[in-house]
Subunit: 283 residues, 2 copies
């Protein structure tokens, strides 16, 4: 299978890496980039991520597949607009980290079946077209949500593409996706952002951080470099689940605090041994 | 310089990796391992990390250099004991993640000058002799504390060794070390332990964690696999500094919580942009 024309909306880290993967696997002949940023489009053209750029309407009308990789709030707005340009031959998919708001927004759309709600679980802390990398999605999971609401051909095309670029597929409904994403991905980002702010607040000597930062600190704080414009809408759309897990996390930290305050080192040992159990899941 | 006999007390991740580094750089001829665990000694012998094993007293008396890489509470006990066996020709150094308790414990010892308080800032989440790796300390910082309290020859020997195995040296007093270590290293571990407990508590479906864990989650939670027996004494000895930074961290997390609860997404954006500033320090 080779798709004549694919439009990628948002030619940054995810969109750019997806474009590279499509080309590498010979899944797309011509890739049209659409981006709110003229600079990003220029970079994406220069980097060879995309072949051309068109207006949203022209791009959609020319394409067989439209893939959105923009902040999740913009996704809702842009998808509602572009659904006005598509026919029952188009396929629309997105890569957003939240799924419920988008699926709810589209639920009564007459062409809802042309849309496949997906979340390829890959990313780095970098952003922009220059952050796009080759082989990005290999070995990672791609969540497909509410598959019964997509047309069989649209679903199968997206399944084929994701498998071809090396992903394995996981199915769940949009609500379950957002819950699990909050637990496994979104909270890690809040932890990391808050850790960076903690260290920047307490440690006024940049040199000390720089000199003493070991691999451990670096890996814990890595996600704190993640793009703010991308993460605010994710937290906003997934507010209830994020608050739920954030409250639990603050409670867990308070247990460590209480152990230290009360010199209860037996319980501290227990807490750490409990945490060690994560290695039964994350090798 | 090649040292005839080096005793390494604690032949786990750090002691074992230090032994490998000494051999690789031809800094030691014979390495004597001492460890409370008979199994660890057997493993260290089998892996070629050490050449022989002796009782603490015999090992110390035979050695020119004694290097301790055991939990920081055990370090205080064992060093007080072994200082009874040394002469003014011996050099004693440790690799502990806290320095003030140990320096305080030794401050009035008649042979204090034979001791060099050091913290090679390298580690992984793994432990035991089988976790020892070659080239471990390369490119990392080694903190040397209260150098004015060590004899010139002892200090210079340790400086020579650490530089030879690829480390750069940072000097500070023990109190400053413990403060900076709390800010830059110890809090990362608490964050990661608490994150693991959060996720294990909320996410009852192991499969969901396993399937959905992206690189981001893995890197944030990696330190949660760290050895409990090693970390409890670190937190205990550095309790005041750790509590101080932990309180700040909980406060920072509460800011994220409050933003979500109050739908204050402008401030949330600001918090994340503040966190992004960590990239001016951690590339």
């Amino acid at each position: 299978m080779i798709i004549e024309n694919v439009t990628i909306i948002g030619v940054g880290l995810i969109g750019g890496s997806f474009a590279l993967a499509l080309k590498e696997q010979q899944l797309a002949k011509n890739i049209i980039g659409v981006d709110a940023s003229e600079i990003n489009i220029e970079k994406a053209l220069a980097l060879g991520l995309i072949d051309e750029t068109l207006s949203l309407e022209d791009a959609v009308k020319k394409s067989d597949l439209i893939f959105l990789a923009i902040p999740v709030d913009a996704t809702v707005t842009v998808i509602e607009k572009l659904m006005g340009f598509i026919t029952s031959d188009h396929i629309v998919a997105d890569a957003g980290s939240t799924k419920l708001s988008l699926c709810n927004a589209l639920q009564n759309h007459p062409l809802r079946k042309r849309f496949v709600a997906t979340h390829p679980m890959w990313g780095t802390e970098h952003s922009g077209p220059e952050a796009a990398v080759s082989g990005a999605f290999k070995g990672k999971a791609c969540v497909i949500c509410d598959k019964e609401n997509s047309a069989q051909d649209a679903l199968e095309t997206m399944e084929f593409i994701y498998k071809k670029i090396g992903m394995h597929l996981v199915y769940m409904n949009a609500q379950a996706h957002d819950l699990h994403a909050a637990y496994v991905s979104h909270i890690s980002h809040i932890t990391s952002f808050a850790l960076a702010n903690t260290v920047l607040e307490k440690e006024r000597e940049d040199d000390a951080i720089f000199e003493l930062a070991s691999g451990g600190f670096e890996s814990t704080v890595r996600l704190a470099k993640s793009n703010a414009a991308m993460w605010v809408p994710i937290f906003k759309q997934n507010k209830e689940n994020v608050l739920d897990v954030l409250n639990e996390h603050i409670m867990q930290l308070k247990k460590f605090k209480s152990c230290l305050e009360k010199d209860n080192y037996d319980y501290l040992l227990e807490l750490i041994e409990d945490a060690n159990k994560i290695s039964r899941i994350i090798k």
